[in-house]
Symmetry: C2
């Protein structure tokens, strides 16, 4: 597997550059798109207030053949037009601009022309971890308090993304605050159950172990000191958080305390979806666009 | 407030060096003590298997006046003798060696000669955060799923420690995954309640705000982007986690992803207590000893 997110800034032949449709594209989105175009990772369709968008584009060095503008009068219409562009093949990847997450996700998951599959929808943060490799952390955005079945869906989605990024049979750590199973701590019980289901091939394509505290999951030194026997401990590729409170805090520690680059992807949809937060750092947004384009080539 | 944990490596006059009694001192503990003595932050009493301890000390450059050895035949006896040494004034600070946490804490909290107060017992991790200052994170070790009343105890303990470290009226962020109050997410409701109790002076000596996601708590840039009006956001001194899963994972991210130095203290006891984990990094253990000695001077 690659060591850096920049490895996925693949510059494809011009005819294969993916087109991203941004619903309710705002000024920041257009600046971001301009950078993505300069790097050569995508072209764009800006959907929203055409007057504002065109005014923003005046004076920018944005190659005219690398964007289109589609007028929409509301968030709802923006989202609806975005999905139409995906359906008719004019765009490859939908992206959230400055609009409510709920409005965006509703359009993405609509029953008739949406991108819903039978899989659970989940989010994955990909970041430049320790042990000199990329690591995946899930779910930092969609599932607040996943039950056992949802956790299995979250794992399957992350394994699929890891494989598409070039990592076969990823090592999956189920995060906890301890490495022992404690009947009074539900997350440790569920981690034990999922680990055993993996041994019985009820969850396949990966090697799972948990519960593991973060240090035991990612540091050989810490796992060794604790005497943990595990194929995953010390070298996890995928970190599965017990809930959103943990994943959200951990993902922000990775950005703000450790200053590591990351990308965010939505999994479980028919095709990649870009949904960044307006508080994400610019590089992380670019990484997310690049990863979505890369994953689109794997469809 | 100081910017570095090294600022608390105060080298006192010889007659005021604090004496630390280590219950069930093992080989690693003696190596650690030797380093602490070299830096000049403490002297030690090693309690445990006297033969093993003395064999370990042979050939070490450990000044003879900087340690004593007390024989004990079991973990229980070690812990009991440690508390006797504290009671009779031979030692100032109790420290856990290689023994069960439960045995150690039981001795510390014993009703007759223990160190229990009317306060809740909690743990605080002090680390070199961002914004060029020390930050406190609590509770990473003792309270698994604190209720509202326990959270208030945890906050009061952390504020007391912060003040003793030189920080008056610390800014306290109540961590969550969002900054909005959501009636379906209990932690956000409790954070709102605690924030308002602080405004009513039911919790004093600090400025509290929450819920705040980690980025909003520690990054001005993130808080500004979200438009959060707060005296705490972007500049928190104390981070209060909603539960142990969050704090444990965050504290390990700070060590393993961000490579930041930290110290761990127990609060709510009559005097400082050193309780490090055998998986803690050596520097973090030294920091914990130094901070305990420093806090002892504030009694």
């Amino acid at each position: 597997m690659s060591k850096s997110l920049k490895d996925f800034y693949v510059i494809p032949e011009v005819d294969s550059v993916r087109t991203i449709a941004i619903a309710s594209a705002c000024s920041d989105d257009i600046d971001l798109a301009c950078e993505a175009v300069k790097i050569g990772i995508a072209r764009f369709i800006f959907i929203g207030n055409a007057k504002s968008i065109n005014e923003k584009l005046v004076g920018m060095e944005f190659p005219k053949d690398m964007y289109d503008v589609v007028a929409a009068n509301s968030e709802h219409e923006s989202a609806s037009l975005m999905m139409k562009l995906i359906q008719d093949g004019s765009a490859d990847i939908p992206m959230k601009g400055l609009m409510q997450t709920g409005t965006f996700m509703k359009a993405i998951l609509e029953s008739d022309q949406g991108l819903r599959t039978s899989q659970l929808i989940s989010q994955i943060t990909i970041f430049e971890g320790i042990n000199n490799k990329l690591q995946l952390l899930t779910d930092c955005a969609v599932n607040i308090e996943p039950d056992l079945k949802s956790k299995i869906g979250i794992i399957n989605n992350a394994v699929e993304i890891a494989v598409n990024l070039g990592l076969n049979n990823p090592k999956v750590a189920l995060l906890g605050s301890v490495e022992t199973v404690n009947p009074r701590m539900l997350d440790t019980m569920e981690s034990a159950v999922i680990t055993q289901m993996n041994r019985r091939n009820q969850i396949s394509g990966c090697t799972i172990d948990g519960p593991l505290a973060l240090d035991n999951a990612i540091s050989f030194e810490a796992a060794k000191k604790k005497g943990i026997q595990s194929d995953v401990a010390g070298n996890a590729d995928i970190l599965v958080a017990p809930n959103l409170l943990v994943s959200n805090t951990l993902s922000k520690a990775i950005t703000y305390y450790a200053n590591k680059e990351s990308a965010s992807v939505i999994a479980g949809t028919k095709r990649p979806v870009v949904m960044t937060s307006r508080t994400d750092r610019k590089n992380n947004k670019l990484n997310s666009i690049a990863i979505a384009c890369y994953l689109h080539t794997k469809l």
